[in-house]
């Protein structure tokens, strides 16, 4: 077994070269290169985590924006509906006012017309009385040969006409 039979002759060489090459591996590879490899892995993991977080934040922002848009949209729709209702009410009120104005004009014209009719009738009645009293005095003059004055004839006609 060379491991034992050569022990005395080779142990120093074995230990020395082992320390040399393991030292090289430890200091150059283990201390020098491995941390860089692991830093790369960490940087990648961090980037992935950051990207995921950014995507999550963007999604949350989009959701919030959509919610805000929906609220604004709802508010605008309510506003528009209020405007429509107000316009409808305004239009109805204006219509009523114009109707009322037109009604009052019509009423006043009716009253005026009524008054004219009443005046015309009174006029006509007056003329009828005059005509009737003249006719009555003429009739009296022809039939009875009496001449009566207009006042008496008028009074008699008035009495006959109005009872």
């Amino acid at each position: 077994m060379p491991q034992i039979s050569q022990l005395a002759a080779t142990y120093a060489s074995q230990i020395f070269w082992m320390l040399v090459f393991f030292g090289f591996i430890f200091f150059v590879i283990g201390r020098g290169m491995v941390p860089k490899v692991m830093a790369t892995v960490e940087a990648r993991d961090k980037q992935i985590a950051d990207d995921l977080a950014a995507a999550d934040a963007a999604r949350a922002a989009a959701a919030a924006e959509e919610e805000a848009w929906r609220q604004a949209e709802n508010a605008r729709r309510a506003e528009a509906q209020a405007l429509i209702a107000k316009a409808k009410a305004d239009a109805a009120a204006a219509g009523e006012k114009r109707l009322a104005a037109a009604g009052s004009v019509v009423d006043s014209r009716l009253a005026e017309a009524d008054a004219r009719i009443a005046a015309a009738r009174a006029n006509a009645l007056g003329e009828i009385e005059t005509v009737a009293s003249e006719a009555a005095s003429a009739i009296v003059a022809r039939v009875a040969g009496l001449s009566i004055d207009a006042k008496a004839a008028g009074a008699a006609v008035k009495e006959a006409l109005h009872g």
Partner: protein, 262 residues
């Protein structure tokens, strides 16, 4: 050489030989020739360097190679996070180095490079190598444990819920099991790797020996042995990964003791 005598010596593959005439190299009286073992450690380090460097493009959308490297670092990171918690992050470089060195050394030692005339060598099949790794892990556990908890670290030897009348025994058992850790770490890896290589070598000697003694023995013994070798090669690839994982896992469990006590 054993092979020249018509036999395959299953232990020969573990022989350490100085290379490139560096036999005389020494520091402070200790001879440190650049051996085949050191060469394969260097190859392991080089291949690992290439592998990790290929994953350093640092692209946001990783390619296949980068995914593979990030898979390994992420695997070690998860292992430490699961066993130690957030405090485990700082041990990633060490556990990664440990796991990847053992894994690459194990797998490189299994490669059929003999086909191109290169004799693969598995440094992790030597307890002088695995021992260094185990002692490093154990030393880190001790240093971290005493630095974080001071003498309170000794409460590790008194698990929660120990009955008072067992207080004289449990700490001794816990102390022994604690002190055995570096040995179990080192021996487990070394034995697993050596056993697998010896098994493959023995089976290959069956194939060669039976084929040399004629078509009859070749078909009766050689072919089943060869089929078994194929299966055991797959098993050894699995063992190469599992042993690296076990070493890293146990080290992280021991570090958990040091970080969080019980």
């Amino acid at each position: 050489m054993a092979a020249e005598q018509g036999k395959v010596d299953p232990m020969h593959q573990f022989t350490i030989e100085p290379l490139f005439g560096t036999d005389h190299w020494s520091i402070a009286g200790y001879s440190i020739p650049f051996t085949n073992s050191a060469l394969w450690m260097a190859l392991t380090a080089g291949v690992l360097l290439l592998f990790v460097a290929g994953g350093m493009k640092r692209e946001l959308v990783p390619g296949r190679w980068q995914m593979a490297v990030e898979g390994f670092t992420g695997f070690i990171d998860n292992l430490l996070a699961a066993n130690i918690g957030p405090a485990g992050k700082k041990y990633v470089p060490y556990i990664f180095s440990l796991f990847m060195f053992i894994l690459f050394a194990n797998v490189l030692g299994l490669l059929p490079l003999m086909l191109v005339g290169v004799h693969p060598f598995t440094p992790t099949s030597h307890f002088t190598v695995t021992g260094v790794l185990a002692i490093m892990s154990f030393a880190i556990v001790l240093i971290v444990g005493f630095a974080r908890h001071g003498l309170h670290f000794f409460s590790l030897f008194v698990p929660h819920g120990t009955p008072w009348w067992l207080l004289w025994l449990i700490p001794i058992i816990e102390l022994i099991s604690f002190l055995v850790r570096p040995f179990s770490l080192a021996l487990r890896l070394f034995v697993a790797m050596m056993a697998g290589h010896v098994l493959l070598e023995v089976l290959s000697s069956f194939v060669i020996g039976s084929a040399n003694s004629g078509p009859l023995w070749g078909s009766i013994v050689g072919i089943p042995s060869f089929l078994l070798m194929i299966a055991i090669c797959a098993l050894e690839l699995l063992v190469a990964g599992i042993q690296a994982y076990v070493f890293a896992l146990l080290t992280s469990l021991y570090l958990n003791d040091a970080e969080n006590l019980h």
